[in-house]
């Protein structure tokens, strides 16, 4: 067993598993938020939590699991693409809601 194999088996894999579990936790929190929160604007915060933190930890963990290879680089490309495109989609959805005159929920209405 070479040193690189040893590092991949006993150092990288546990870190990767821990990272994926943390990512799943954030995905779970976002799902709870989508169920609990009162209106479109607040729910979009929950969805943005999924996009940024859940995808970051899950895809980062998978890239660590792949080790040093082109596969890891490709997974990072998907991550960068998500980071570039998801804010645009979230902004477009919320802006169309705002321009249609949807009132944001606030403490006083409840």
């Amino acid at each position: 067993m070479t040193l690189i194999e040893w590092v991949e088996l006993y150092v990288m894999s546990p870190i990767a598993i821990a990272s994926i579990v943390v990512g799943l936790f954030f995905l779970f929190v976002a799902a709870v938020g989508v169920l609990r929160l009162p209106d479109v604007y607040t729910r979009s915060h929950a969805v943005s939590l999924t996009d940024s933190l859940g995808a970051f930890f899950v895809l980062g963990g998978l890239a660590l699991y792949e080790g040093l290879s082109t596969n890891a680089v490709k997974i990072l490309i998907v991550l960068i693409l998500l980071y570039l495109l998801n804010p645009v989609i979230a902004h477009a959805t919320v802006r169309s809601a705002h321009r249609s005159g949807l009132k944001p929920w606030s403490r006083e209405d409840a």
Binding site: H45, S48, L49, S52, L53, Y83, H91, H98, P104
Partner: protein, 159 residues
């Protein structure tokens, strides 16, 4: 950058092709050159897009942004999982002192990417931001992002 935009675009697309296809035999490489040139040629009328190379500080900015995202992500998770749901959503209007389009785009994207704040509307220099509670709103009103981005895009801009 003004010398030959078509060649630069072709080169950029070709590098992306090489990264995604991973095959280096002459058939795939020549197909890649053809496709890259074709895409660049179809988009030759978009030459007026100003292309600026950001300063090297942008790498540091991305690490700083990931740190901010982690911090406000934990804050938002606490809000969502709290049994009584202690949210206090609000709209903030704020003028930014950034002048370049690239800086404003980066600012809006960063604000939307950070959990707890989302850019709703952008006029030329006024942003309308929806924030989850006072602590998230403070992220925007403290001009934290503006200062960092002003250092990335240009030394002349003041924030």
């Amino acid at each position: 950058m003004k010398s030959n935009p078509l060649a630069i675009k072709t080169l950029a697309f070709f590098l992306i092709w090489l990264l995604l296809s991973e095959s280096f035999d002459w058939l795939h490489v020549s197909m890649g050159v053809l496709c890259a040139f074709g895409v660049a040629w179809f988009n030759r009328s978009r030459e007026q897009t100003r292309f600026e190379i950001p300063r090297a500080r942008i790498v540091w900015y991305y690490f700083w942004l990931v740190g901010r995202i982690l911090q406000s992500g934990f804050h938002l998770s606490k809000l969502i999982l709290h049994p009584s749901l202690p949210i206090d959503p609000r709209m903030i209007r704020q003028r930014t002192k950034l002048r370049k389009d690239a800086g404003i785009v980066l600012l809006g994207n960063s604000i939307t990417l950070t959990p707890g704040t989302i850019t709703v509307e952008v006029n030329s220099d006024e942003l309308e931001v929806h924030a989850m509670d006072a602590e998230s709103a403070e992220d925007v009103t403290s001009f934290r992002f503006d200062e960092q981005i002003a250092r990335v895009t240009s030394s002349k801009e003041t924030a």
